[in-house]
Symmetry: none
Subunit: 275 residues, 2 copies
């Protein structure tokens, strides 16, 4: 007897062997299928109480399916919970393990980044709250001029936003620090405008400083950054969070780019509706 290692395999096993199970084990199987979250998170005695069985029955149940004990079976339920939810890090972790095995061909590197990018995109679904996104779009839609700023790794995103916003005939200014005029370029921001700042750790000091200063002028700030600890998050009216995956010691921009593009298209729709 071999114990199912995945949630789906276990589910399947529970279903097919359901008939041959004893009364109490049937009862537990039904409970397990209906309450997988309990199986994943509660203690043996808590589950036993809820399913109206003895704790020992749960252990017998687990052993009947080939596990050494209940805890081992619980791991299967737990990993399911994680896969379903926001966790894509496990996949990445296994990815980096694989990386350890001397992957020196370029196409292996490409595969790793593709996997990482897909994981980051999937994750984006979970971490971006629809409300924040809506709020960001609305703020930008009401802007007279959108000022864009980013430096270093985040700069390509601002640069892309400048291009895409121009396609929408939305007025925007890219504060790129060209000619050492970072703050000078920002000086023309005024009431009615909005600052869209993008920065990831380690946060470029100019961008952080500009955000603070602009906040003091009562200009609305929308930001794209990486987590609540970001200094941008603290000073922004809306902060959209992205978490890029690190593969081979480099972070991609796939997810951030996708979010930026979404912002543009959603903004375009909002503007269309107005007119």
């Amino acid at each position: 007897m071999i114990a199912p290692g995945t949630y789906d395999a276990l589910r399947n096993e529970l279903a097919t062997r359901h008939d041959e199970l004893s009364k109490r084990l049937k009862q537990i199987a039904e409970y397990a299928l209906e309450n997988p979250n309990d199986m994943a998170l509660e203690t043996v005695s808590a589950i036993a109480a809820r399913a109206k069985v003895q704790p020992s029955s749960l252990i017998r149940f687990a052993k009947a399916f080939g596990y050494t004990g209940f805890s081992e079976m619980q791991k299967v339920f737990r990993s399911h919970l994680v896969e379903n939810g926001s966790n894509y890090k496990e996949r990445i972790r296994s990815l980096s393990r694989d990386n350890a095995r001397q992957s020196n061909s370029s196409s292996v590197v490409l595969d790793d980044f593709i996997d990482g990018g897909i994981a980051a995109l999937n994750n984006l679904r979970h971490v971006v709250s629809p409300e924040k996104l809506e709020q960001a779009v609305e703020t930008l839609a009401n802007a007279d001029v959108i000022y864009l700023t980013a430096q270093k790794r985040a700069f390509p995103i601002a640069s892309y936003l400048a291009y895409a916003l121009a396609q929408l005939d939305k007025r925007c200014v890219l504060i790129d620090g060209n000619g050492g005029m970072f703050f000078e370029q920002a000086r023309s921001i005024r009431k009615g405008d909005v600052l869209l700042a993008i920065s990831f750790k380690s946060y470029a000091s100019e961008v952080v400083q500009l955000v603070k200063e602009t906040k003091n002028k009562d200009i609305p700030i929308v930001s794209i950054s990486d987590g609540v600890l970001s200094p941008l998050a603290q000073h922004s009216d809306v902060c959209l969070e992205v978490e890029e995956v690190e593969v081979h010691a480099f972070r991609s921009l796939a997810a951030s780019m996708t979010l930026a593009l979404t912002l543009v298209v959603a903004l375009g729709r909002a503007l269309d509706q107005e007119s």
Copy 2:
């Protein structure tokens, strides 16, 4: 002191009080925000090991935020895990409903772009030939200076490449046309250098022209473009093809960015092996 009862409240508390926290507590806060799943599922000692702290620090951490112990705080992380999973399922359901009737909510747009990005990335795996990739890497590795050029939609990629190559201490020049000096910037290309050009349809004329001119000077050219019909493909020594998916009349850059990043990392490895 009142302990946050929800994940969002806790996150918020972690962010706002992050500054006033002691060294070890900061460390734990950061780990918790980056690995909420671990916080939800692992044991105190397992988390302690991963976050490189003592188990007792985790208990102090929980108490610092008003909980009676770590277990109480863990409940918050656990309930988030459950809610997150079910929310996601509901969202998928409501999304497919909305999609049928052309919903215009921003998060639907986001989902479309995420799906599009994933499709483009998967496609990338098939269309990029390992040989070409290897050849591109080799050509770039042998370059004295890498000249980068792109305009319009492709420009962010060149801009990102410039940033990433600098990280590798690989000499590069970004021909961005700033100050109307597009061709002037390119004038200093000489034997031993390589031109890396990126352009998608409709191909920016400057870039195409520059590629042609540079080809005549017998400078190797590596390009990233979209299909064999690209004028870049014809004049390049190696042309890496990417096909971005068009969603809502806009093309993402997720796949192209991923390819660009791959090129950088593979190049980095090639350079390491040389030395």
